[in-house]
Symmetry: C2
Subunit: 412 residues, 2 copies
């Protein structure tokens, strides 16, 4: 290597002027090896985060715990409850943490997620999506037989009747909330008279027990700027709020008015009769939520701390102004804004390539060599978590536990 000619040096560009990378004495563990260390969810050896094989999904426990605490303190102060959405983490270990720190239950988007959570000891579950096929209705009502804290959303008269028949066949009276559309027309029945008629029908049907309504305004969660977000949220929840008043006047049960999320957790309580927030991303945060701004900082949403990262390794440093990593779209998704390199400035990360991530430099705080590891703040936490079978729970850079993402891929 000492005989490198000038022409070759020129050909290689900047890389030739930097000494070749010498492997550090990191050990590195594969997922399989890590599993063998993992007894009852606790690691028996003392393993550094930086020794993990990559890409690896990591959650910083101190930050996660502060996020749990801040959420719970805020909603308690505002006189409402939290019913966090497990679609974000798909992880029974985290659902247990949420229940232990004061949440009244969890939400799931899919009946399969609810089945997994119940199998792992969670017994207060609101399925927020109406189940419409015979098989899914049967599964939900079968689960209701075993999980007394199951609540099922419904958004049509036909569906309510199907649910009631399936509940009767399973020998249960199923708890139900009416899913009210906040205006996005995605799921839910229209507020006002249609919702009231459905509520009355649910109340009447022998297999069902009406608990109230659900109104999830996904479209308001990422509105940039606290005041703009607050105004839109309260406007769009007004019809649902009027609906629950008509429920009350009609003598229907109004003990649940569930909705909201991480972007509106400190706004939703201003809506009359609102009972609990379906926060999800508050646990992890992500680049999408960071960008919405908060009440204290108009540019950055600092209410919760980023706790979820992807650990990745640089696999190529040979070309000027860039480096290639082992975390592409299959490890990061292609959501925008792109993942953020944690703790560094002057560089951008893109995961547009299936297998590889690209770092481009623009007055960077550091550059990377082959074999270097770095952490990424994820772009959009929900679909990222859905790519991994496990996450490493980290404290002070040591692996404290491996949490199985038991409901990963459960979209049915």
């Amino acid at each position: 290597m000492k005989k490198i000619s000038d022409s070759r040096r020129q050909f290689l560009g900047v890389a030739a002027t930097i000494p070749f990378w010498i492997p550090r004495s990191i050990k590195g563990y594969t997922s399989k090896q890590m599993q063998s260390f993992n007894l009852d969810g606790k690691i028996v050896d003392d393993i550094s985060k930086w020794d993990l094989d990559t890409p690896a999904l990591c959650v910083e426990l101190d930050a996660l715990e502060r996020n749990l605490e801040h959420l719970q303190q805020t909603v308690s102060r505002n006189g409402i409850d939290s019913r966090p959405h497990a679609k974000t983490h798909k992880c029974p270990a985290i659902a247990r943490l949420q229940m232990e720190t004061g949440s009244i239950g969890i939400c799931t988007a899919k009946v399969s997620e609810a089945e997994v959570m119940f199998e792992h000891g969670i017994d207060q579950i609101l399925i927020t999506t109406p189940n419409v096929t015979p098989v899914k209705i049967k599964r939900a009502m079968h689960l209701s037989k075993w999980c007394s804290g199951l609540i099922q959303a419904t958004d049509s008269l036909t569906n309510a009747r199907d649910l009631s028949a399936a509940a009767a066949a399973a020998g249960v009276v199923a708890d139900v909330v009416v899913d009210v559309d906040p205006g996005g027309h995605r799921t839910g029945i229209s507020p006002g008279e249609p919702a009231l008629i459905l509520g009355q029908e649910v109340d009447r049907l022998p297999g069902l027990n009406l608990l109230g309504i659900l109104c999830y305004d996904g479209g308001s969660q990422h509105v940039k700027g606290f005041e703009k977000r607050r105004t839109q949220t309260l406007e769009r929840l007004a019809a649902a709020s009027d609906t629950i008043l008509t429920f009350q006047r009609s003598g229907l049960n109004t003990e649940i008015f569930s909705g909201g999320g991480t972007g509106t957790y400190n706004i939703d309580h201003e809506t009359s009769h609102f009972t609990d927030v379906q926060v999800g991303s508050y646990l992890f945060m992500d680049a999408q939520y960071r960008a919405i701004g908060g009440s204290s900082d108009p540019e950055v949403y600092t209410d919760f701390e980023p706790s979820l990262t992807i650990l990745t390794t640089v696999v190529n440093d040979q070309y000027q102004g860039r480096a290639t990593t082992d975390a592409g779209a299959k490890a990061c998704t292609i959501n925008k804004p792109w993942s953020i390199v944690k703790g560094e400035t002057g560089m951008n990360y893109r995961s547009g390539s299936d297998e590889f991530g690209t770092i481009t430099y623009d007055n960077p705080s550091r550059t990377y060599r082959v074999g270097d590891k770095l952490e990424l703040i994820v772009s959009h936490c929900d679909p990222v978590v859905n790519l991994y079978d496990q996450m490493y729970a980290i404290r002070n850079d040591r692996v404290e536990a491996i949490w199985k993402i038991e409901a990963r891929g459960m979209s049915n």
Copy 2:
């Protein structure tokens, strides 16, 4: 329901003018139920695709088999081989089909994928990504000890020396190809002198056996228009072609010059010394590849047939001009162009929402009611497959087998 007032009818919009949906006598099976029917990879009961619980990933066997045959016939006629990339399907059952129909081996992007494929009986495997960390190098060289047909790509002198040391420690001489950069600067060493010096070093190192080069030009695969694609591909492969000529003149082994993909499978053979194509998407096709146009149709790439679909169910039909399904970003990814509703016209599908898909109508060939199932031609097959634990192999609308996607999520 007979007492609907005019005002309510108006409130509900178009939906109120259509009779309510009556459940059909479909049975429906959950994934768990399907598994219980599945003995030795074959279904013992006679189950319709339309009874599957959704979202479900399905592959049409007749189309898949025609794609396999067309590819193999074409490359044979052009005097080259196929070495399909298993990063696309991550499925040993499909790798076996590829080997049985004439492929000389498979490629994998990650060492974890190679481990899985070898565990399932595939023994001709080219790992196309240089492994750079001590743990990955050790894993690859350990695999080489058991899998005599393993070939590892390398793109730097340091990496080659690390590989050689690890091979010696494992007691093997490992087969290696030099990864040459086609100009994208993602991975690979620069063609010409740098690649030659690396080839000579690999040839010299006691633990390694040089087989030739690899040059994957991902950037040319989706160039729209056959002639434009052909021109760019041949231009960008020229430096790698020159490189393999210098290998030959220097007495180095040139038995492998691997590269190319589904967009260039009928172009790459025009490059001197080119030996085999790393096709992946040809099996399944997708909306991205459909749009690149082919030699016979400038708008639609008809060389291969779409065989991979996502089966999804309509969960809401209450709002005019649209319907909501149960297949969102977690079931479809957010790649563009969006998934295509198979067999229908005048409607668009979007999976921008994590849990829900949105159909919007624009002079549609049909409309959907709650509970209806439909099939989507996937947007970009690789990351879609990576979301599912299994795919249903379908012939004449019946489930013929369930194929485990054993390397799903194996990004490390």
